[in-house]
Structure formats: C-alpha cells, structure tokens
Symmetry: C2
Subunit: 217 residues, 2 copies
C-alpha cells in the first residue's frame, strides 16, 4: 500500500505562500476548499463558478484570488488532497498487517469507507480525468506505486503468487473502484458483507472452484 | 456475457423519425455522429460546440437540428451506440465458448481491443458520468446483467466457485476497465502478453500461491 512521500507530492500553488501563511489565512483557504468540494461535486467542474464557491464560503468574490488563481487551481488542489488522504488512509491500516492476504481485505474495506465518507472528493477525482488528465493519471500511478511495493514484498515472502505486480495492482484497484461505484457511490452505503466476502475470496482464490488445484498460468 | 436485447435499449430520439428515415438522411446523421464522437473525445462535452460538430461533418449548422435537439442528445446517442456495440462484441466472442474460464480470457482480450479501436467512444462513455449520470449507470447495469447471467450459468455447471455473482461481475468489469485504462488507453496499445496472462491467472486462481489449497471464504 502507498507510502506518503511528501517530496513527490505536487507543489502547492503560489497562493499558499502569498496569503495562506497566517492562521486566519489558512482558515479562509480551508473554507474555500470545503465550499469548492461541495460545489464541484453538485454541479460538476464546468458548470461551477467562483461566485458560487465564494457565496457558500461566505467570503467576497475577490478574496478567492488571494488564495487561488483560477477555478482550475482550486480543483487541482482538491484532487491532490484527495489523493494524499486516500493513500495515507490505506497506508495507515495496511502497514501493520504482516500477511498480504489480510491486507487485501482491510484495504478494500478502508477504500469503501473512504468512498462513503468522502463522497464529494471522490466525484471530484473522477471528473479530474476531463479537467486535468495528467493529474488524474498521476493519482492512479502514485496509488499503484505503493500497491506494487506491497505486492513485490509479499511475492518475495511467498505469501502470494508470482505475477506481474503492476498488472495485479491495477486489476485489484479497478475491482475495488467498481465495487465502490456500484454499492457505496450509487447506493450511498457500504456493500452487504457477502459482497465484500465474495470479492476478497475472488482476490485470494479466483473463480476456479474450491478444491481444484490452482495450475500455473 | 451480455446479450443484446433491443427491447431494453433506450429509445432513439424523435429526430430519428423526423429526418433519419431516408437513406440520405441516415448518411447525414451518421456523419454528424462521427464528427461528434471526434469533437467530444478531443475537447470534452462541455467545451464542445454544435458549430464545431457541423463544421467537421461538413453540413450547415441548421442541419444539426433536423436530427438532434441539442448537444446533450447527440452525446447520449453516442453513449447508447457504444454501450450496444461493446455488449454485442462481448456477446459474439463469448457465446460460443463452453467453459466460463476460457470466456474470461477472451472477454478481457476483446474488451482491450475495443478500447484500442474505439478509443474516442470510450472517452465519451467515461465523461457520461458527468453529463448524464443515469445513462452512465444504465450502461454499467446492462453490461453487468449479461455478465451475471454468464456467471450464474457457470456456477450451476460447477465451472466456477459459488460467489455473489453481481459482486464478481462488477469486480471483474472493474479490473478489465483499469487494465484498459493503464495500458490500452494511456499507452495506445494492447498490454504485453504477460500482463494479460497475469490478470487471467488472478481471475481464475487468485493471489494465493500455487499449490496452496483454496479455502472457502
């Protein structure tokens, strides 16, 4: 699972240095970010306006520009926050788990909780593909890097099968993503236990019927 | 894998009846759809304009309105086309395959070919989440319905493990989706054979090392 490595994180915009240094400045910036998260999730990036963001944040429209240059900039900052928070959440729960097979269940459950409780930020991340494709790609690559490290280690320890670790990372990320969309995002609740159990069994043992010896590729 | 069932397909807009009945009318409509596919994929739905679509289609701007009421309508028609074509492609290759485990490999390979050759339509489908979330959801539900039917049949035949079939369908769709994004969509080529082999082994046998007896859940 991903480590947070601040040195690889995209730099915050110049606005942070310009206006965000005082405590009060940080509080205003956070209010703008919270409002933007709501507005982007409800209206979508392209329909959203800076006027609506400042209205909800309860600040004058001109105040926005003390912190962010444009609608794109606050959007990108939200995506970076989401990416960082998701990687930290996954890292925290999976790092202490010694067996990769247990880490897969815990990682899936943590991801689904994240989608449930950070629903707005998750919408923003998905729309990022159409606002800033490079940043969208960066997020998935960073997420996959941590996943690949965990898989390689588990392969070296003989806990899991030797497979292309990047292929496995993207396949499992995709599976979690779609389960999150179908149950957590559409229905606004965690999937039933039998859904989580089925997915974990699929990850660990595959479709082949129980008792059938697993053949190599 | 999905069956095409025309009776469940969303109805085409009234424009089809109004102007699309003659052969020449159909040809113009197809030119507009081809142009729209290009424009939406390049510029995104929100930046695209009807003027740009008609310019590329080589027709007067007014002609657009003989076929479609608005930018939203031609966008939705493209999504319905993509959804139908993808389900038909999967159905055609998987229907004659008797063992579900072989069908999984063929289905994955067919999906990756589809993303490679219908790249623009695939972009349109993903942006649909932000243009018409209901239609986006309809597409994934239709795709999953066919998948679930195939999985249930294979479970009844003892070819695959008894699991929640909808959970398995969404997990495997998600895995294929993310492999398609990482290799086919980003790199504009099919993934290396070892990636496909690793994903198929993961689907069939899971992460548990070869030789370890698969335990139930």
């Amino acid at each position: 699972m991903p480590q947070s490595e601040p040195q690889h994180r995209e730099p915050a915009g110049p606005s942070r240095r310009a206006a965000g240094t005082s405590e009060r400045g940080e509080a205003t910036r956070d209010r703008l970010l919270d409002a933007a998260e709501e507005v982007f999730a409800e209206m979508g990036f392209f329909r959203a306006s800076i006027a609506e963001i400042t209205r909800r944040a309860g600040v004058a429209q001109g105040t926005f520009y003390l912190y962010f240059k444009a609608k794109e900039e606050i959007f990108r900052e939200l995506v970076r926050q989401l990416s960082h928070d998701l990687r930290r959440a996954l890292q925290e729960v999976t790092a202490p788990v010694l067996d990769r097979r247990d880490a897969e269940r815990i990682g899936l459950e943590t991801f689904l909780e994240f989608v449930l409780h950070r629903r707005n930020l998750y919408t923003v991340m998905r729309e990022c593909e159409f606002v800033d494709p490079e940043l969208h790609r960066w997020h998935y690559q960073r997420l996959a890097e941590g996943y690949v490290r965990g898989l390689r280690l588990a392969m070296a320890r003989g806990q899991i099968r030797e497979l292309d670790p990047e292929a496995v990372a993207f396949a499992l990320m995709g599976a979690s993503h779609m389960i999150g969309m179908r149950w957590t995002y559409w229905n606004k609740q965690l999937p039933p236990q039998e859904v989580v159990d089925s997915v974990v069994t699929l990850f660990l043992h595959g479709l082949n019927p129980a008792g059938t010896p697993a053949k190599e590729r």
